[in-house]
């Protein structure tokens, strides 16, 4: 099983990069959704 650690590292680091990116997009989307709701409420009050 020569180089198993390298193969494991490549897949783990690669998928970590993709997953972290997806999480940041999901977090930014949820923050912006809250902002949209807040602004819509402010607009309806005016």
């Amino acid at each position: 099983m020569k180089n198993l650690d390298s193969v494991f590292a490549a897949y783990m680091i690669g998928w970590a990069v993709y997953f972290i990116f997806y999480l940041t997009v999901a977090k930014r989307t949820s923050d912006l959704r809250a902002d949209v709701e807040r602004l819509k409420n402010s607009l309806s009050r005016k």
């Binding site: 390298s6 993709y18 912006l32 949209v36």
Partner: protein
Amino acid sequence: MAKRVVFAAISFLLVAVAGYAAFYVAPTERTMGLIQRIFYFHVSSAWAGMDVLIACFVANLLYVWKRDSKYDALGVACAEVGLVFMTVVLITGPIWGHPVWGIWWTWDARLTSTFVLWLLYVSYLLLRTLVEEPERRALLSSLFGIFAFVDVPLVWFSIRWWRTQHPAPVFMGGPNSGLADPTMKKVFYFCVLVMHVFALFLVLERYALEKMKHEIDILKRELEVA
């Protein structure tokens, strides 16, 4: 919302199946051994990343032509996702290269042009943070995106035009290039398809985020007027 959840579930399921195929279905390569399995992840990420950057170029051209904010949103979504894919390519490549070549990195045509491509799209995203006015930001970044795209064909053709340390191309690389084993071929093309589906999923998610930013800009302007 339900469609997005279903697409997310399909994308992640396909990714898991591709991982299984790369480890358990594809046979072990005779010369390189286990380390060759990085190829299924590295090359499929590179192809999907390049295609996302082609979509970015088309969106940039369409914005310059039509001045419609949806093309700006698509351009930035593709640039960010393309950059993430190229980051994975630049990480997994040296992990494969170290045991095979004995070095992590060399400044050959393919590796250097890929690194330059990565720097160009980092600059594209940085440029967007420097310009406040939305229309000006969209136009400047679209023009820069068109310029940055010049490096994409250079990356693709670098291993065809020059003799490099990087292995020969898998596709359209002459009679001795590519995968000889039919199972390896099937697994490879399946991984390429899966990475394209995953890239499309990420682009759509990022595009929805950018559209929401535009909606906030409009709401803020309406609030100022009211």
